[in-house]
Amino acid sequence: MNNRHVILFVLLLLVLVVTFLMQLFVGSVHIPVGEVLHILMGSNQVSDVWRNIIIESRLPGALAALFAGAGLAVSGLQMQTMFRNPVAGPYVLGISAGASLGVAVLILASGFIGYSAEVHQLSGIAIIAAAALGSVAVFLINFFISFRVRDVVAILIIGLMIGGGISSLIEILQAMSGNEALKQYVLWTFGSFRYVNNTQIGYLSVFIVFGILVALGLSKSLNALMLGDTYASSLGLHVQRSKFWIVFCTSILAGSVTAFCGPIGFVGLAVPHLARSIFKSANHLVLTPACALLGGAVCCVCNVIAGAPGSDIILPVNAITSLLGAPVVIWVILKQKRM
């Protein structure tokens, strides 16, 4: 960490604060900045409707965007280092696909046997449990495969195949389900920060903060793994053990975000590249906090855009992150080709 990094961290923190507050100030209902500040200070001289909008809707959504972005970006950073592949992301492990399958089974299959109304009511805890189960299942499959197959490309292809297989299962479930269940599922796949309530934010924040702290503790292992398994082992690293903890950590981060906010693409893939370019560093002690801050800021901006300020429409967050993220990924691949 040098002086340049310190300055960049301060700037990034400022950007994060500004983008976070933007989410509270901007929305489909116009609330004057002064009133928003009064509500945040806990003042009683404000309309209850406005207070409700800020405290029960905008604030949890803003926090969800912050934690989700931080978690996805750190998880993507770890994947790219572990697989030594610039286009790896949490999706490569199929963790999000696994979570989607869990949710699809819950919403679509239970709708199929006539439970849809109740599922809609319990959606909170039920969807989270289903997503968590799905991601843990895929995590376990991947983990055992990674013991047998050491080739990085093979693991990536197997990950893609697992994802493909899971998508097919989901499509079959979709074909068999009724309109109401299908609509619910599709809405979840859009990804959103604004349906996360204040209780869920509590859980999400605990998972993400824990995951990022573990990731920071893995910095040394990740730095060694940049050189590949052989060098890492020659530097005294217990490679298999380190990889277990990395997979554990990414699963917690990506799995919990997907469970609470739906599948959100490209943040985990693109943000680590932006962080490396901005900080011009490969050291994970620098990159991990940088990804957390930058990922949080990116998702805050996406959340504001998704709210389509000035209109009543809410756009799918997944579409916004993909629109912003895809060019970054193309840029990364072009840059690799040049070398």
Binding site: G228, T230, S233, G236, R276, K280, M339
Partner: protein, 234 residues
Amino acid sequence: MVLKAENLSIGYRAESPVFSAIDFSVMQGEVIALVGINGAGKSTLLRTLAGLQAPMAGALTIDGIEINQMKAAERAARISIVLTERINIDHITSKDFIALGRLPFSNWLGAVSEKDNEVIVQTMNVLQIAHLQNRTFNELSDGEKQRVSIARALAQETQLIILDEPTAFLDFKAKHTVLQLLQDIASQLHKTILFSTHDLEAALPHCTSAWVMTEDRKFIATSSNLDEIKKLFR
């Protein structure tokens, strides 16, 4: 430091080892070239010496301790390696790259200490690469990359440094520079250096001895005399 092998067999299956009956004893400060045709088992031998794969039979010790019995951290304190595989790390500076050699000494977070920094600066001076320290590893020439890679191994402060074909991608001038540096490291810093090579003419003048892995599966430790070695390949 003494590196010693007695009746060592190397390979992947005990019933059909790649190479058997390897005996040698290496002292501190020696520079040894490992030569042999492609597929002779040079890489397998180097991997076994580095503790990255287990011997099939026989004894292989460093200072009397079985290399295969050592914990990864103990090995890291005694043996460092430089491989041929191309490394592609975005945005890493040469200095940060060399700093990776200090990981065995760092705290659990892997932060670089004052002492680490001293060793890194010293190492860069030995290899005459201080001017490269802030440049990105990916934009260095092949010769510069090789010197930075050797600096990383040297920063690990091990008695034994093992290199897999360190001159493979280098032009004539860079090849000479790297070989001279290896010789200097051995004689001035009392390191033991072992490297595989196909480049007999260039390498042997810088070595104290040579190991030949012949086509008929004999392991011969000999002097670094070019004519003697050429006879073994007839």
